[in-house]
């Protein structure tokens, strides 16, 4: 097991309470071959369980496509984004946020 930890910075916004979004940073133990979703799971289970990301029905294997977000500014599936160092996670569209990384579906 490696001792390395990475900093995961996450967009946080609960429109029912917060006046504006903010970023929160978490320290996550690094594991070779981990995805952004694995980091989020660690944070939810161990550090901050108020965090929201689409996983109540996610496949985590790149099939359902519902975990689309931005990883270091680039859009992609959180479950298939390999994390190797400090990382910033944001929703795919800030104007459609329901909570944190979860957004309403686009019209298309």
């Amino acid at each position: 097991m490696t001792e390395k930890t990475i900093k995961v910075k996450i967009f946080r916004y609960d429109p029912s309470v917060d006046t504006e979004p903010l970023f929160k940073e978490y320290s996550v133990p690094f594991e070779q071959g981990m995805s952004a979703m694995n980091a989020l799971d660690y944070i939810y289970q161990n550090l901050d369980s108020t965090i929201a990301y689409y996983d109540h029905a996610g496949c985590c294997l790149g099939i359902c496509g519902r975990c689309t977000g931005k990883v270091n500014g680039k859009s992609g599936l959180l479950c298939q984004a390999l994390v190797e160092d400090d990382v910033v996670l944001e929703p795919i569209n800030m104007s459609r946020v329901i909570k944190d990384l979860v957004v309403t579906r686009s019209e298309s």
Partner: protein, 591 residues
Amino acid sequence: MAYDSLETDVLVIGGGGAGFRAAIAAREKDADVLLMSKGPLARCGASPMAGADFTLDGHSLNKLGLTGDPNDSMEKVFNDIVTQGFYLNNQKMIDHYVHRAPELLKDMLDWGLDYYFSDQRAVFTSGIHIMDVLLKKARSAGVKMLEDVMLLDLAVQDNTVKGVLALDIKSGKFMHLRAKSIVMATGGWHKAFWPNTGMRDLSGDGVAAAYRAGASLGNMEFITFCCNVFYHPPIWRGSLAPYILSLLCGGLLTNSQGQDILKPYDEYTVKIGTTSEWNKTFLSYLTVREAKEGRGCAHGGVHYSRGDVPMSTINMFAGMMFPNWKYKALDLTGWGKMLENNEPAEVGPAVEYFEGGILVNPQFETDIQGLFAAGECTTGLFGANRVFSAITEMLVQGLDAGQNAADYAMKIKGHNNMSNRLMDFERKAESHFANKTGINPAQIRREVQEKAHKYLGPIRNARELTDFIVFLESIKNNGIGNLHISSNSRAYNKEWIDALELPGIIHLLEAAARCALARTESRGTHFREDFPATDNDRWLKESVVSSAGGKLHVATRPVTVLSTPLPSGSMPYLEMMKKLMETHSDTGGHH
């Protein structure tokens, strides 16, 4: 709390193949149909994750103009399903499966189903494609649909189903859905285990709600673990890619000491147990045996490498199944290099399919009037072990359940006002917000999942099952009522979802553990270290779980026999498995 209210003739709960097929069938009988899906439409549950094969007898495949073994027959398929299920199957349900399968495949082809190829008795396509075909058909048939909506409880009056309380996950608003009949099609409960091979939505909400409302469950101890699933790295964990490749081209499985794990076993059993879908039960058992005897690898699995299979063979099959080493959006390029260098990847068993579930009669109606069920959430068809396709199961059962639910609904005038009952359910669901301190649902869920994987895996014993039941009881008594949710926001509250799913998960695990403890023999996917023989004299009977005075009660009932007589005598597990493999008909292929 404000709620949205809807009425329908037939409510279908579940957005996988069984639910969609039931919805289409009910709609074609002119019933008003509403389908609620916990996740995205046609992209949740186990169906879109499937490989996927549709199995039926080769002769019928031929008649539909596809490649199939012309000498195969419905009788041969029937007998193979019985022996693969260790004779515990409900033979009436197998009869229904084999006879209905051809027309269901024809429907799918008429609606635009494409397939890669067909072999002796199976058509190979993909789960995603099957779901797209069903979604398109359901839309054109006029099925109304809800997505990201979760079942909380069933309202039942005089043992007759009246409606449900549901939660719109994204807004956090309750929904009151009134229905004249309901089809339960919520699939398995993979989420009770970690790791698993299913979507994250599969928490068995429908099976648990049906049980709470008074329906009996059966054969809960039989749980299929898929073998050779990626254990590492985390980004691939739970993927079936190595399972698929090893089934198609073979390879080498080694333990932490570098020994070939298949070597100690009977040659014939190894051959059938690695080249047919018997591999799930056989190899999962072998892998857990290695780990239990101290020869497991770093993450509790074994190593898979190509061994002496030439890279050209690997590339040929990989090119077909994972073009450019992409499996859906999963990037397996790194694994391709590992295979090339004959470097091992760690794989192991992960929960994949539940033979147990809600008991249904030949009309697919449960113990509760007006409540029907179809697909993986039911029990009976595959007995103690599934080798044939669950894709066929979901479609044939969805059709009948949907038609029967529509017939039932059409005889009923008007809807009952169930508001008071549904408001009680609302109060129960909201009670979690009242605790100012308590246990974190996220942590307790993970602890439950890991223990379930360990104690309810392919190899069990009385001591571990008893420990597990004590653990589950402690959570029931001290945990569930004391869950603390840190945020009061209703919209997409993950802790609340976990808190709402947990009681059902605990119930189902307890049902499985108690059935497994009661069954003092080894059969199908259930191996008992302390009772290592298949005991046909004492245990050729189904387990039945019912709620008696708020307590979980385990009993048995006779196996439903149609044409194949049941065997007698007792035999060591692997010898029994070999004998069953040997009775297979002369039709080839993976089934």
